[in-house]
Amino acid sequence: MIRMNFVRNHVLVCAGTGCVAAKSKEIMDEFQLQLEKQGLTDEVKVILTGCFGLCALGPIVVVYPEGAFYSELKVEDIATIVEEHILKGRVVKGLLYHETVQEGSDTISGLNETSFYKKQVRVSLRNCGVIDPENIDEYIAYDGYEALAKCLTEMTPEAVIDEILKSGLRGRGGGGFPTGLKWQFAAREKSDIKYICCNADEGDPGAFMDRSVLEGDPHNIIESMAIAGYAIGASQGYIYVRAEYPIAVERMNIAIAQAKEYGFLGQNIFGTGFNFDLEVRLGAGAFVCGEETALMMSIEGNRGEPNPRPPFPAVKGLFGKPTVLNNVETFTNITWILLHGAEAFAAMGTEKSKGTKVFALGGNITNTGLVEVPMGITLREIVDEIGGGVPNGKAFKAAQTGGPSGGCIPCELLDIPIDYDSLISIGSMMGSGGLIVMDEDSCMVDIAKFFLDFTVEESCGKCTPCRIGTKRMLDILEKISEGHGTMEDICALEELSAHIKENSLCGLGQTAPNPVASTLAHFRDEYEAHVLEKRCPAGVCKNLLQYFIIPEKCVGCTLCKRVCPTDAIVGEVKQVHEIIQEKCIKCDACREACKKFNAIVKR
């Protein structure tokens, strides 16, 4: 007789990187301890799970069956939750995410009713925050490995590719190439050995959706890669993960070992004679390795420098063999499409961009986190409704998509529906889905400089337009931000942008000018203020700032005078002080020291 324990409560503790850094492991241990104290360990199951998405409110714990969403927990809070909620059945309202609390009522609203989750559709992230990523049985319980079984036993490789083609799925890594087409090209090649690669080298600063899937739903990637292997006739796969994601690497390795043990990887899978094996390879910190040919060079053990295409990887890829390379988010859609059908997938999104897209919302926004929305939603809906707008009463200035390859989108364009093509039409791109919101305190020249600085450092140096062109652009931007720019410099920036875009070898170089070109197009007045008026409207560019003491606010406490490293402040006790501009090195020490009176301003 099998005796199953009756579990009356499930406690899901988020174990994504954000929450782990916010001490979710300690919270898990405290739960176990408190449950033991109350003798409840048999009745309550505590599970570490993947990312819930609302990273700004971590650490997050959800208690079922009520679905109580506790946010920003501290270790001290756990005893209260165990005693009040789990033992006595009274949800601790004071610790809940405030949007789920209904005034004057004891019922709590479901997560899907909160503004952060209401407009989201979870396809790619469907298992994140739902299952225990280190337990294959939970993945199987959520239809895991069913799509692989269906493909191997009921479908021909051609039928699998057809289904993906019909779904209209496009690569989620940046370029948006149709996935089914990529598979078809590789399938047509005659070769004894072929490879499947998963691009998990998420280098775009500010994007972390791939990390969340690797950490929260690793089996989904294994299953999808095996399906891709079956479709094109490959028996070996590689997952290239960046070394900055230790938790993701660990969970992926655990998942691969479990899949091998269950016979979902290895020889003769499901008794069909299909063999497929997987290996994790680590990156070592090179942004260019997100480019497909560079990534394969890196797996081969070389410097990660890109190669000219054609030949495309589908013809001649890893170790010279036909290779399909998709990114993490693309793979997560594969299993869903095969389980629910291409039509269901194609029903979501816009005419040319089907399905959903995950965005990593960050920067100056209230609800930082991961959101998955249908293609065609407007940026305004994401920023204002899901993201909760810009905090601290500041005004919205720009949204940046696509990281160092993308551009800044101004307020006027927030209402365009987001898909691959519309973003390109306004000088940005989808990229991997980083979406950074900037408020009025961000200087667009400075942001352009920030991204150029990134690409200059990450340019591999193989082709001249990228290696030298981006460096020249950075020099000019530095000149402008230091107040030495001329109008000719702005023309030179535009000219260089066009050249680099046209002539670079790989995607990194071709898109490197985008941050400059888009800010020039939408925020030209800011560049002109730097050049013509030698002024930084946002007050960021240090060389263009001057510090002033507001006489009405100064009480003459001498604090600023004492912290000034260059004796640039003069004035007697209890008398209004003054800054000698020639001596000031703009170190900001005086302004920091005057927080109490706020008598010092920079402008």
Partner: protein
């Protein structure tokens, strides 16, 4: 980030050498073995000095120039040892727009250690790192393996001081 050859004398032990040879043996013959071997060697020694690169080149039968080419290409490989207290400030976009640049400057001032360098006594090293993917906690930094997020200016200095105190205690 400057990654020029270090002048710190090599202090590898016999045990480390034996471990390195084991690592190399385990990867020998594997396609694209150089990267995994270098990664393991770096976690063994903390950095990749010339002596270690020579051993790897000889054992894997790859020219030293090629090994050096790989080491100098990837930013995670370092030719210099890290300090006992390694402070890495995330410079991803989300952190940057939330003021990570100011925090990096403050720390450099506080520890007398410029970004990308190490103090003479090898206690503190400071680096500006690529996005660590914890954008929900922006601005964020790590001190050794500990993560500190949602920082305001002035908050991190006392934390660094506790690390310095502890380190002083260890030496005394």
């Amino acid at each position: 980030m400057p990654n020029t050859k270090t002048t710190v004398p090599f202090a590898g032990t016999k045990e480390q050498e034996a471990q390195l040879l084991e690592i190399i043996a385990a990867h020998k013959g594997q396609a694209g073995a150089s990267m995994p071997v270098l990664q393991a060697a770096q976690s063994l020694y903390g950095y990749l000095p010339e002596e270690v690169q020579v051993m790897i080149a000889e054992e894997l039968d790859i020219p030293l120039s090629e090994i050096y080419g790989i080491v100098s290409f990837y930013s995670q490989f370092t030719l210099n040892p890290k300090g006992k207290i390694n402070i890495a400030v995330c410079m991803g976009t989300a952190c940057y727009v939330r003021g990570a640049g100011d925090i990096l400057d403050d720390i450099a001032k506080h520890t007398c250690c410029q970004s990308g360098s190490i103090t003479d006594d090898r206690t503190v090293s400071l680096e500006a790192t690529r996005c660590i993917g914890a954008c929900g906690l922006a601005p964020v930094l790590t001190i050794n393996d500990d993560v500190y997020g949602k920082l305001d200016r002035g908050e991190i200095e006392p934390v660094i001081d506790t690390y310095l105190e502890k380190e002083k205690g260890n030496r005394a």
